[in-house]
């Protein structure tokens, strides 16, 4: 068993679809569920799960792609840092092609900047250790799954006494934005497919306020197609019964309390801050800033640089897509001007972006 194939079994997926149909039968008002994790978005498009659902059940994508929700100003700062002499930018691959206001890291690389794609932030620490004469700036973008790993890299750099490792941090946390979106009457969210691996860190308990006070059913759901279908079935059951609880479909990995050690490492290095989400705006305490004690690792504080005034791309509807208001097919640039080869907005670049998923699987 490898714990992936079994959860992709077509028969099981179809069986669960039939179950959802039974549960939703007789509903006149459709149920709208939002997923807030790019990996769910990809799975839903890749396996064509929408086409298996009855007309009473509608899935919409929310702000689940960390690269996509990061406003242009962040990328512009990364570009400005990349232009500094003696500076290496280390990043996950997704960031390289994201267009900033007037450039991208890929364009900077073509002009001679040193941009390294790494698999782990620890690879960036190792790079800093190997190149003491250069400074290495890691682009810390991602939700609660990624933030503990980046925090861990700062702790590792401190332990090794490195003064040339920095993080440009734009980490975000997901529960508060979920509360903000759930209050939007236009969206009318009837339930959330809560993220799988974010929840492995923060625990299913993080959605309790959303379920109990805001009365929005929450189901922490795995990423395989059968997981998603079972998660939807659990949401339909709750919605039809008028319940709103936090349930865990992805029990094989997620516990109510999450991973306390990862939470502790995260809290050691980061502290909550207000942060801007593309399409949503500033949400109080929904971001993670590097604590004062670790300011010498904070690229924003430790490396002064002039950054251009950010501009958004005219015509790009990423903002509305991230709020669940429109789908990529509503964007006039989709698949015409904007393609994965020449993306206009972040939602088309990142593999987890809704536009990229729709382009690859949805047409």
């Amino acid at each position: 068993m490898n714990y992936m194939d079994e959860f992709r079994d077509r028969e099981v997926v179809r069986g669960l679809a039939a179950r959802i149909g039974e549960l939703a039968a007789g509903r006149t008002r459709p149920l709208t569920f939002m997923e807030v994790c790019g990996t769910h978005t990809m799975a839903i498009y890749q396996y064509g799960l929408r086409s298996l659902l009855p007309p009473q059940v509608r899935l919409i994508s929310g702000p689940g792609c960390p690269v996509c929700v990061t406003p242009n100003g962040y990328l512009d700062r990364a570009v400005a840092l990349a232009r500094l002499p003696g500076t290496t930018i280390a990043t996950f691959g997704d960031m390289v092609r994201v267009p900033g206001s007037s450039s991208s890291l890929m364009e900077e690389r073509a002009r001679g900047a040193e941009i390294r794609v790494v698999y782990s932030p620890l690879d960036a620490v190792a790079l800093a250790e190997r190149q003491p004469e250069r400074r290495v700036v890691f682009l810390g973008v991602g939700f609660e799954t990624t933030a503990p790993a980046v925090a861990g890299s700062i702790l590792a750099a401190r332990e090794r006494g490195l003064a040339n490792y920095f993080v440009l941090a734009a980490h975000k946390t997901i529960p508060i934005p979920m509360e903000v979106l759930s209050a939007d009457p236009e969206l009318g969210i009837d339930g959330y497919l809560c993220p799988a691996h974010v929840s492995a860190v923060i625990g299913a308990g993080a959605y309790r306020r959303l379920a109990e006070e805001r009365r929005v059913p929450c189901v922490v759901t795995g990423f395989e197609p059968a997981d998603v279908m079972q998660g939807v079935a659990m949401l339909v059951r709750q919605a039809v019964a008028g319940e709103s609880r936090v349930e865990i479909q992805y029990r094989r990995v997620v516990k109510p309390e999450g991973n306390p050690k990862a939470q502790a490492v995260l809290a050691e290095v980061f502290t909550p801050c207000d942060t801007a989400w593309r399409g949503i705006g500033v949400i109080p305490r929904s971001g993670l800033a590097i604590r004062e004690e670790y300011a010498s690792f904070d690229a924003e504080k430790a490396i002064p640089v002039e950054v251009e005034t950010p501009r958004e791309h005219p015509g790009c509807r990423c903002g509305e897509i991230l709020r669940g208001k429109v789908s990529p097919f509503d964007c006039p640039l989709f698949a015409t001007v904007c393609t994965p080869e020449s993306p206009v907005g972040a939602c088309m670049v990142s593999s987890e972006g809704t536009c990229a998923a729709a382009y690859k699987y949805g047409r």
């Binding site: 959860f7 069986g15 996950f92 782990s120 939700f143 799954t145 861990g152 492995a200």
Partner: protein, 76 residues
């Protein structure tokens, strides 16, 4: 980016493991994992860190529930 994959632990060396999926091997740090792991266990690896251990009994139970829903739907 939040992608994490279940990988089987094939080696443990202090605070690090080597984990494997489909013949691909990767090193991963145990720095942020709060559980003991042994060779043969499955862990979720994300960005070079093991973030959770996969509970195989729970996995079997989930599959059983899924198949149960399937056969109910089938009969109905």
């Amino acid at each position: 980016m939040c992608l994490g994959v279940p990988m089987r632990v094939v080696g443990i060396d202090g605070a690090n493991i080597v984990a494997e999926i489909d013949g691909v091997r990767r090193a991963a740090s145990l720095m942020i994992l709060d559980e003991e792991v042994r060779e043969g266990d499955y862990v979720i690896v994300h960005a070079g860190f093991a973030i959770a251990r996969l509970d195989e009994a729970e996995a079997e139970e989930t599959l059983r529930l899924m198949r149960e829903a399937f056969s109910e739907a089938d009969m109905g």
